[in-house]
């Protein structure tokens, strides 16, 4: 996948969350995502960027357009050096909230993409990776 071009954006303020949404939208349009597919990945990006800011104390997002035999996808990686998530399964469950959302941020974002992984350990920061494919590529089993 040498064609992957990675864009890195800082996530340190709510204005930068809005900037991250805009960058993801542009990438999704360029990757040929439908309007609904664009809306889903941009919404997921917004949830994850806010988590990075509010719970991770800020960090960065890496945005890449990726390819497989079926088509194009968007890969988003959010990294922070915050306190980490003590129990990832609990954090993914609906209604879990330590901040000011509806407690649906992580779990909601996971439902909007095809691949979703969290690496986190207490005191060691958090990395969340989310990948969404445009419909043409969705021969890949979920």
């Amino acid at each position: 996948m040498s064609r992957d071009e990675v864009t890195r954006l800082e996530i340190g303020s709510d204005v930068q969350i809005a900037g991250a949404r805009q960058a993801v939208r542009q990438a999704a349009v360029a990757a040929g995502f439908s309007l609904v597919e664009q809306t889903k990945i941009v919404t997921a990006a917004s949830e994850l960027a806010r988590n990075t800011l509010v719970h991770g104390g800020g960090g960065h997002m890496e945005l890449a357009v990726v390819e497989n035999s079926g088509g194009h996808g968007i890969r988003l990686t959010f990294t922070d050096d915050g306190p980490g998530i003590p129990d990832v399964d609990v954090a993914l469950s609906d209604g879990y909230s330590t901040g000011n959302g509806l407690g649906l941020g992580l779990g909601g974002a996971r439902r909007l993409v095809q691949d979703f992984t969290i690496e986190s350990r207490p005191g060691g920061g958090t990395t969340v990776t989310a990948v969404a494919w445009s419909r043409m590529a969705q021969r890949v089993p979920r």
Binding site: S13, R21, R25, V36, T43, N100, L102, G108
Partner: protein, 124 residues
């Protein structure tokens, strides 16, 4: 929180005893909270209803959903109603997929439909 107040601020119009806020662009979290405060204060000063027109909003995430729900809850307590008008189909599909209904929120397809809700109420 950042200090870029002013940019992206949503203006609220008053038409009789109805408040109308049309969100025409992406909101930062801060401007969403500013709108919540403005609408709640103006509703407290006397309004029968609030219409939030969101046809210009490309995404509603759990933060904005919470802000909308809280505006509705506050106006309900102040003897008013909040109607969210003009949600894009792609936004509705995404909210449902996230498991995030806008519970307790009244919706209308357009600003015109939302205003008709209040006109109907006035006739009673």
């Amino acid at each position: 929180m950042t200090a870029e107040a002013g940019a992206g601020r949503v203006s609220v119009l008053r038409m009789g005893d109805i408040l109308i806020a049309a969100i025409q662009q992406e909101l930062t979290d801060e401007s969403a909270l500013a709108l919540q405060q403005d609408l709640t204060e103006m509703a407290a000063a006397g309004a029968r209803g609030v219409v939030i027109e969101i046809s210009g909003v490309e995404i509603v995430d759990s933060f904005l959903a919470r802000v909308l729900s809280e505006i509705a809850a506050a106006t309900n307590m102040l003897a008013g109603r909040t109607v969210v008008a003009g949600m894009r189909p792609s936004v509705a599909i995404t909210l449902v997929e996230m498991g995030l209904g806008l519970r307790g929120l009244e919706t209308a397809r357009s600003l015109e439909d939302a205003m008709a809700v209040f006109r109907g109420q006035a006739g009673r």
